[in-house]
């Protein structure tokens, strides 16, 4: 080729053959592995018709499972959010010894099998656990009841809000808050007028993901709930029960509720990412590495 006209070759892998093959293979595998499960949930849920679907949803046990799931989320998510905000404030606005260790400990529940979390709770509040005998003699029920379900849900979602806020608040620094307090604003005023507006999308992002996980948690809740039909069955546990009862359509009808929740969560996630939330934490699920930008004292 002559050098007169600079000819730029296509980017690596951008020949039509490679492009079409790769897109084709990826879309096919994606359809099999990700899209098909989504489709079959609704196909099975409506397999016996609309009326059977409505009847399955309106069954008292299913309604109670929905109720219990919502109540659990209404308790666990706000507490978890308050914790996440407090942890992010402590870790990003101050320096203290053991800070990195604290961040690692907050991240621990991410790497632990939900079943292990459930078993661990048995050894605290169960009859063979640390406080079990004392709780039993005081007639306080934690395991196999709502408090146990809430506690286990809080364990598995502990890092969700904190890990969205910490990298963002770290990057934003302390200047704005220090300016606000030096001008006489109180701590709360500074938080609500200065910090919160800057992190609101990241906070909401963490809350949305936390809620999805609380409502969908299976392993940990399965260990601590006792699975009593119409009493301590959350929606995921109820799905298992129906499925093993060979009430497939009913199980998928209940599952379709959680699937709608998952789809709504993904839509919310995409919308919040457009506002800049979430991207920062993409590379680092564990926050400590992101802190390396700041010298520790």
């Amino acid at each position: 080729m002559s050098a007169a006209k600079p000819h730029k070759p296509p980017r690596v892998g951008d020949t039509p053959a490679v492009r079409r093959t790769l897109i084709g293979v990826v879309l096919l595998l994606g359809a099999v592995l990700v899209l098909a499960p989504l489709v079959i949930i609704f196909a099975q849920a409506f397999s016996l018709g609309l009326q059977a679907f409505a009847a399955a949803i309106a069954h008292p046990d299913t309604l109670h499972a929905i109720f219990l799931t919502v109540v659990t989320a209404l308790i666990a998510v706000p507490i978890n959010t308050a914790f996440g905000v407090a942890a992010a404030w402590a870790v990003t606005k101050f320096d203290f010894p053991g800070k990195r260790l604290l961040i690692v400990i907050i991240e621990i529940p991410f790497s632990i099998s939900p079943v292990v979390a459930g078993v661990a709770y048995l050894f605290v509040y169960g009859l063979q656990g640390l406080f079990g005998p004392a709780l039993a003699s005081a007639d306080i029920k934690i395991l196999f009841a709502l408090p146990g379900i809430v506690l286990a849900s809080m364990f598995v979602t502990a890092p969700f809000v904190a890990r969205e806020l910490i990298p963002l608040m770290q990057a934003q620094g302390r200047d704005l808050e220090e300016a606000a307090t030096s001008l006489g604003a109180s701590g709360w005023r500074t938080f609500f007028s200065v910090t919160l507006p800057n992190v609101r999308w990241a906070l909401l992002y963490g809350v949305v993901l936390c809620n999805a996980r609380v409502m969908g948690e299976f392993g940990a809740v399965s260990v601590v709930s006792g699975n009593v039909r119409g009493q301590t069955n959350t929606l995921p546990l109820h799905i298992e029960l129906l499925y093993h009862d060979y009430q497939t359509a009913g199980a998928f009808a209940a599952a379709s509720i959680l699937t709608v929740l998952a789809v709504v969560t993904i839509i919310a996630k995409v919308l919040l990412e457009r506002q800049g939330a979430g991207r920062r934490t993409r590379v680092s699920v564990a926050a400590p590495t992101i802190m390396s930008g700041e010298p520790t004292k």
């Binding site: 790769l22 402590a90 993904i266 590379v283």
Partner: protein, 273 residues
Amino acid sequence: MKRRVLPGLPLALGITLLYVGLIVALPLGALIYKAGTLGFEDYWRIVSSERAVASYRVTALSAAAATAFNLVFGMALAWVLVRYQFPGKRLVDAIVDLPFALPTAVAGIALTTLFAANGWFGAPLAAIGISVAYTPLGIMVAMAFTSLPFIVRTVQPVLEDLDPALEEAAQSLGGSDWTIFRKVILPLLTPALMAGVSLSFARSLGEFGAIIFIAGNQPNQTEITALLTYIRLEEYDYQAAAAIASVLLITAFVMLALTNLLQARALRYTQRS
């Protein structure tokens, strides 16, 4: 030394320590304590029993296979999403997160129904002699599903930030696409790939909900370690449950340390380039 002007440390740190202490540290401490009350001999007998060891093997091998699959598929998916334009691309990008958002029990019954011998995929596969549901292959499918987003989401941002000048330089030196991919692009992606692999593998080791529906749960064959823990609980054998759970816990700590190390490396690497 700079004077500390911001208020709220005692309250914020107090709430944080209370929560971490009560919700995270206390139960894990209780579990370790319970496992510790077993003498070393009893502990060893339980965790090295034939059934337990078989469960480690099934779990680790399936997790390794699922991660290997996701390494290739996740890498290809990230590549396609970053480098090509095609209709529906944003939808595909969004739907990659479905395995994180979909409750594991829902994923479990959906995958089982798809891959059962009379299912949409199970029936054609059965016709050529491959059964997925109730075999180790089923465990692998469930693990691959639940950990799919990790590798895509760790590789994607690195691929987006890749400097086109590097490829152009390699092209001007006459390298073929495949050579440039292997010698220039892949080395730059390796730290992110490794971080994604460790996250994906760790998640697969601990997965429970999606697997128990599809696995068949035959002792010594398709029984994962998390399920064995659960079964020991149902048999009221709390000490065995504690011992086996402690093995999962220790593995999780090792994987957490490894992941942190690999992520620190990945981040240093991207910051430098």
